[in-house]
């Protein structure tokens, strides 16, 4: 029996494998060509920067999801956590006149609490991750709403006692959400997490746990510790996304982070297949976000109404999932 397995796999060309590995990148080029043909303005530098800016927040949040996926988990609460971080950071400026670093620090601390709650319920109470983070998603959505009393938080807003809010948002903070900083932060995040997942012991452990939790445990890997770390990191990047969002819009709208969930999930799943990685990875997630960003931008240019955009994005997610799970078969 042992001899059978020394036969090397045939180096034959398989069209499905080829499409699986390079399909996403090919699709991006095809889309660029199509959109550029339809409207030459698509290729202008200003539009390319617009696309990169538009995907920055999605990418950062999707990076968090990528980490939770790497341990075989899933974090649905990232959108709500981004909303919460957005609300907290703006309120720290507007309501409490805090300095920038303190405001950001408190927003991220609040998110890490949510991550710790998720981790506890999933690791210790053993609730399936999808269900638990679904519950957390609603809880945190409600917490963010209650905290802002269901109103939009902005500079000079009218407070409950009829006076005007006196706090201001620092000019340093306002820069974070502008070009080029927003794009730099995104690229830096992708780079750091890519290094972390691919080149460090911790990244290796996360993937090994995602591959087979019991085998990882019996290899002496502290599985629970790494799952906790994964959910904390997921919450951290969701919060980072929320803070950048706050800087971009300079207000805290109701449930502002919610819509980012679907795009981020789609980006992470598209990322599975990029260059044949076959597992969640930071670079692939970035490519996934680029694909979605180009699609959205190009379709808007071609006058597809914004309210139809979810149809397109949902379909892209379904296709990415189909590719991933068909491959696993």
């Amino acid at each position: 029996m042992a001899q059978l397995n020394t036969v090397r796999p045939k180096p034959s060309f398989n069209i499905f494998d080829f499409l699986y590995k390079y399909g996403t990148i090919l699709l991006i080029f095809v889309l660029i060509i199509v959109f550029a043909a339809a409207n030459p303005a698509f290729l202008q530098t200003s539009n390319i920067i617009t696309i990169l800016r538009s995907i920055s927040i999605v990418t950062i949040i999707a990076i968090g999801i990528t980490i939770s996926l790497s341990v075989g988990g899933f974090d649905l609460s990232v959108g709500s956590v981004a909303s919460l971080a957005n609300a907290v950071v703006i309120s720290m400026f507007v309501w409490y006149s805090q300095p920038t670093l303190i405001a950001i620090g408190i927003a991220i601390a609040a998110a890490l609490l949510v991550g710790a709650f998720n981790a506890f319920m999933i690791v210790k109470v053993k609730i399936p991750d999808l269900l638990m983070t679904l519950a957390t998603m609603f809880i945190i959505q409600g917490v963010a709403l209650t905290y802002t009393r269901g109103a939009t938080v902005s500079q000079n807003m009218i407070m409950a006692d009829g006076s005007y809010a006196t706090g201001t948002i620092s000019s340093f903070f306002a820069k974070l959400g502008q070009v080029p900083y927003i794009i730099i932060i995104m690229l830096f995040t992708v780079f750091i997490v890519h290094i972390f997942l691919t080149y460090t012991k911790h990244g290796r452990y996360l993937y090994v746990i995602g591959g087979n939790q019991e085998a990882a445990r019996l290899s002496g890997i502290p599985v629970n510790k790494y799952k906790v770390i994964a959910y904390l990191l997921s919450a951290f990047f969701a919060a980072l996304g929320g803070v950048i969002l706050a800087s971009r819009v300079m207000t805290a709208e109701i449930n502002a982070g919610g819509p980012y969930l679907m795009d981020a999930v789609a980006a992470a799943f598209i990322g599975f297949a990029v260059l044949g990685a076959g597992k969640p990875n930071a670079f692939g997630t970035f490519v996934g976000a680029v694909l979605i960003g180009i699609l959205a931008n190009g379709l808007v240019m071609m006058s597809v109404p914004y309210y139809a955009m979810d149809i397109v994005k949902g379909t892209v997610l379904a296709l990415a999932l189909a590719l991933t799970y068909y491959k696993l078969k």
Binding site: A2, K201, Y205, V208, A215, A216, R217, S219, G220
Partner: protein, 498 residues
């Protein structure tokens, strides 16, 4: 009614599981089917119950040849089987009553849209009381004990016109009183003219409950005898037959200090009051049959399941393990029985598997991995272990069982532990790889490591170990120097003899 199976042969990739096997039984009697691991008992019964259909040979009922091509065919002929894993056959969130009449519900003979609850419950209650089982048909199956679940399955089997009921290792998970209750039901079934076919490793209980015994060996029939005319000794002799030639390394054990010892160790479940010790350079065997508690003991020693009572000492120091990570840090390595589920990461590459337990050996600075060093070490291991793999980047799922096992062992050789625990290391491994594995284990002992070798392959235990603990029903029933014992005695002790 008379059941006869003639010339049954069946092949699995690389193995001839049954070789012209023969079996015969009568209704109204209890019939034991026994043989060492891999003798083909379960396979033969799966042929009879329609699970395996690619066999050759004939099955006769009352002299008339029948064809069994599916479990449904078997049921129509009145042949039912109750597997050891009772949970796979029950629906936990339905009631006892619903589970008992499940087959009829699925067949939906009445073609009605609504459930007739009255008839479901009255029918189930009737069957339960005819077996004198005191269970309410309204209880949820999820609330039952394992023994009660077995009763439900037996009750289900006899809802239809059951002629032969196969019980595959029914007593392995049961307590003594539960076993007594099961035996009472077997007696009831005999009264109802059902033929019970009883597969078990526990010889004493077969002598208590059965009328006839058939012994199998290497996929073939050996002998059928009336229980009254035979003895456990004779049965064990038939089971063993001629000893198989195995290639074990010749070694001279150089024993050092006591490396590891346990006192009164229990896990609150299967493992009870285990006291053992192992010296430097020593290989001890934990010999026991399937279900005796070997795996549970190994996992307990590795910290994979929490300990309830007792103590462990490693190198003279008290040892507390709250998880496997603690065990690895303390210098304990464990190669589990369920290789593909627990031993290796099938979806990962060879190199990732080999370094998984010793990541800290392969760091450049901080936590950054040194891929070069990792690959070099993996290649060194592949050569040293003779792993047949195209490259270090091959996914482990593409390797054969024997090579996967070498990987599972190899990862612990890199991490360099003091105590190695092996649970059925040769399961599903071809002969050549087996020999390599024995050499590896002997090599560990020669380097002064301590080895615990748990296996139901008693000939291997005899061949490789210096000292043997026999485990029966979760307890150490005997400690023996390997040179003073033989396979026959171990089998006798493993089946509950003393």
């Amino acid at each position: 009614m008379n059941l006869q199976m003639n010339n049954i042969s069946i092949d699995f990739p690389g193995v001839k599981a049954l070789n012209n096997a023969y079996f015969e039984a009568e209704t109204g009697t209890a019939h034991a089917l026994i043989g060492a691991n891999g003798a083909g008992k379960s396979t033969l019964m799966k042929v009879l119950s329609g699970v395996y259909t690619h066999h050759s040979g004939q099955v006769y009922l009352d002299g008339k040849e029948v064809t069994i091509r599916s479990p449904r065919d078997a049921q129509k002929l009145g042949i039912e089987i109750v597997y050891q894993e009772v949970d796979t056959a029950l629906v936990p969130n339905l009631t006892v009553g619903e589970n008992i009449v499940l087959n009829e519900l699925a067949a939906n003979k009445e073609k009605s849209f609504f459930m007739n609850w009255k008839s479901v419950n009255s029918k189930a209650t009737e069957i339960l009381s005819s077996l004198h089982v005191h269970l309410s048909s309204h209880t949820l199956v999820s609330e039952l004990t394992l023994a009660e679940k077995q009763m439900v399955l037996i009750a289900r089997a006899v809802t239809t016109d059951c002629k032969f009921l196969i019980l595959d290792e029914p007593t392995a998970p049961l307590s003594l009183s539960e076993t007594k209750e099961l035996f009472r039901i077997v007696q009831e079934l005999k009264q109802k003219d059902v033929g019970v076919i009883f597969i078990s490793h526990r010889l004493p209980e077969l002598f208590e409950i059965c009328d006839y015994i058939t012994v199998m060996r290497n996929g073939a029939y050996v002998i059928k005898e009336a229980i009254a005319d035979t003895t456990t000794k004779r049965v064990v002799d038939h089971m063993l037959g001629e000893p198989l030639e195995e290639q074990f390394p010749v070694r001279q054990a150089q024993l050092g200090e006591v490396m590891f010892r346990t006192k009164g160790l229990s896990d609150g479940g299967k493992v009870k009051d285990v006291t053992l010790d192992v010296r430097e350079g020593e290989i001890i065997g934990v010999a026991g049959l399937v279900g005796a508690g070997k795996t549970e003991l190994c996992k307990l020693l590795f910290g994979a399941t929490p300990k309830k009572t007792g103590e462990m000492m490693l190198k003279g120091k008290s040892l507390t393990l709250s998880n496997p990570t603690d065990a690895v840090v303390s210098g304990i390595a464990f190669v589990p029985e369920e290789r593909r589920k627990e031993g290796v990461l099938v979806e990962e590459t060879v190199v990732t598997n080999l370094s998984a337990s010793s990541m800290n050996h392969f760091l450049k600075f901080f936590s950054f991995l040194d891929f070069k060093k990792e690959r070099a070490k993996a290649e060194e291991m592949i050569n040293a272990l003779g792993v047949k793999t195209p490259s270090t980047e091959t996914l482990v799922k593409n390797l054969s069982g024997g090579n996967q096992q070498k990987i599972a062992i190899g990862k612990w050789l890199i991490s360099d532990a003091d105590l190695y625990i092996f649970d059925e290391p040769t399961k599903g491994v071809d002969v050549g790889a087996k020999k390599d594995i024995f050499n590896l284990i002997a090599g560990l002992a020669d380097r002064g490591k301590s080895v615990i070798y748990a296996s139901c392959e008693l000939s291997e235990v005899i061949g490789i170990t210096d000292r043997v603990y026999v485990i029966y029903d979760g307890q150490i029933s005997k400690e023996l120097a390997t040179t003073t014992t033989n396979e026959e005695e171990l089998l006798y002790l493993s089946t509950g003899g003393d």
